[in-house]
């Protein structure tokens, strides 16, 4: 799995955010939301079929999290740390390369 491009930011935020209380408890460092790995809320998980994929990027564009990155060949990579299993990618995929399946059987 591809490593999150925000990894460095996540670590910096995690450190700085826990150090100092700001007036009004403002979060002054962007990206603090990435500390929380929201993938644990998921029931369904996208299953990806590389052979069917036409690299149209619709899943990448529509992912609200965004938990989909593109690899060197522009194929989507799913970051399961943040994927909430909403199924929008599967719904948008015009060639059914993504299907939602129950994560635990």
């Amino acid at each position: 799995m591809a490593e999150s491009p925000f990894k460095e930011n996540i670590e910096r935020v995690a450190k700085e955010y826990s150090e100092k209380m700001t007036p009004g408890a403002i979060a002054t460092i962007p990206g603090s939301s990435v500390i929380n790995k929201t993938g644990s809320w998921r029931v369904f998980v996208p299953e990806f079929n590389r052979d069917k994929c036409t690299r149209c990027f619709l899943c990448y564009i529509y992912c609200p999290e965004p938990a989909i990155y593109l690899d060197e060949e522009n194929y989507p990579v799913f970051d399961y740390d943040y994927c909430k299993g909403c199924g929008i990618c599967a719904n948008e995929c015009p060639v059914d390369a993504i299907v939602m399946v129950r994560e635990t059987k």
Binding site: G24, A25, I26, A27, T28, P30
Partner: protein
């Protein structure tokens, strides 16, 4: 030149808002403070005040709009009373927790039930634990001045807390009194343009406001509100001093009147302070050693000043237009807290009177005096007394 004119406290509050030049005013009409937003909307419509006047569907929305505007980085103002302030309750905590220096003018009115539109302090007293600063005006001039002062204190870097300024329903809101409207230039010098310190929107500085705090951070966030309230004590003194230099009118957190060698000191807030001063003059003519004190600032509670005051008196008679059930009044608790660990302390007596707009007369105050004198002579009296209560209809 300052303009000397006559106006109601509501108008005075609107004028204070106009002089402070807020950028957003969001308000919903409620008796007795309706005239405040009415007058401000007139100023805005006439082009005399360059601000956004937001008409909202409730007080909850009014204060929410103010929170939004203040968080975006502009000076904001609203006015309300009674049930309206109660409807704001939830958001008042948010405003204080987010440290937004919003100023609210409160036409102090009783709370339902039964419905009553007249004066007591139950509305703003009930909000004493929200973290907001609280000022109480004795007359219309003070209503105007204290709103300007409230802005200055609230926006101070060490404070950054919202503030409410209370003025008694009808006794002040609808009574015409002489008021001096200060020059715009002098107010500008005093207040200056609002420069947001922490809460403002800027694409170059992405932030999240009103965040979720887990147990690891919540306590610290609340402590900063406590700390800001403590800081406000000193800042208020500094602002009072600066105000006196610029405008010539003197304010103190606890204003004392003829307390030298006084045995009984009557302590109160708001417009009742005027009546009590008259009463003290009346008593002094008869050779009775009485004094009066007025709390101009109720939150942060001026503990040090109260201790100083307590040293001068043998009996402190608290005259309160609010009830804290099974305890007495809110001032009674606050005074008890201030004096409980003092080595020498006066007898503290609590008098609940004038609820729901009932007149407080000299006859009522005679009753207070009588009970206070009994206590002074070592007789046993009730700590909490309802004055002017019509027991015959109970």
């Amino acid at each position: 030149m300052p303009i000397r004119t006559v106006m109601k406290a509501n108008e005075a509050a609107a004028w204070a808002a106009k002089l402070a030049k807020p950028k957003v005013i969001a308000a919903f009409p409620i008796t007795p403070s309706t005239l405040v937003p009415e007058k401000i909307s007139e100023f805005v419509a006439n082009g005399e005040l360059d601000a956004e006047f937001i008409k909202v569907e409730s007080e909850h929305s009014a204060i929410s709009a103010c929170v939004g505007a203040s968080a975006a980085g502009v000076r904001t103002f609203t006015a309300t009373a009674s049930q309206g302030l109660a409807l704001m309750h939830e958001v008042l905590f948010i405003a204080a927790g987010m440290r937004l220096p919003i100023v609210v003018a409160v036409g102090n009115r009783s709370l339902s039930a039964p419905i009553n539109i007249w004066n007591d302090w139950q509305d703003s007293i009930s909000e004493r634990d929200t973290g907001w600063l609280q000022f109480y005006a004795e007359n219309n001039q003070e209503a105007l001045d204290l709103i300007l002062i409230a802005f200055k204190v609230a926006e101070n870097e060490k404070v950054l807390l919202p503030a409410m300024v209370g003025f008694d329903a009808f006794i002040l809101t609808h009574t015409v009194e002489p008021v001096e409207i200060p020059d715009q230039e002098v107010v500008d010098e005093f207040l200056g343009e609002y420069e947001p310190k922490h809460a403002y929107l800027d694409p170059e500085r992405p932030i999240t406001q009103g965040t979720l705090a887990f147990p690891a951070h919540y306590m610290e966030a609340r402590y900063t509100v406590w700390e800001a309230n403590e800081n406000a004590k000193k800042v208020i003194d500094e602002v009072f001093e600066e105000f006196e230099k610029k405008f010539g009118r003197k304010y103190r957190k606890v204003e004392e009147y003829r307390t030298e060698d006084a045995e009984i000191v009557f302590v109160t807030m708001g417009s009742l302070a005027g009546t009590v001063k008259e009463y003290v003059d009346h008593l002094r003519e008869q050779g009775i050693k009485a004094g009066a004190a007025k709390l101009t600032v109720y939150r942060p509670f001026p503990i040090e000043e109260v201790r100083e005051l307590a040293k001068k008196a043998k009996v402190i008679a608290l005259l309160e237009k609010n009830v804290t059930f099974s305890v007495g009044g809110a001032l009674f608790q606050d005074f008890s807290r201030a004096l409980i660990n003092e080595k020498e302390k006066p007898i503290i007596l609590d008098f609940i009177l004038g609820l729901g707009g009932r007149d407080v007369t000299f006859q009522n105050l005679d009753e207070v005096l009588e009970i206070s004198r009994k206590a002074l002579n070592g007789e046993k009296v009730d700590e909490v007394n309802w004055i002017g209560l019509r027991k015959e209809i109970l």
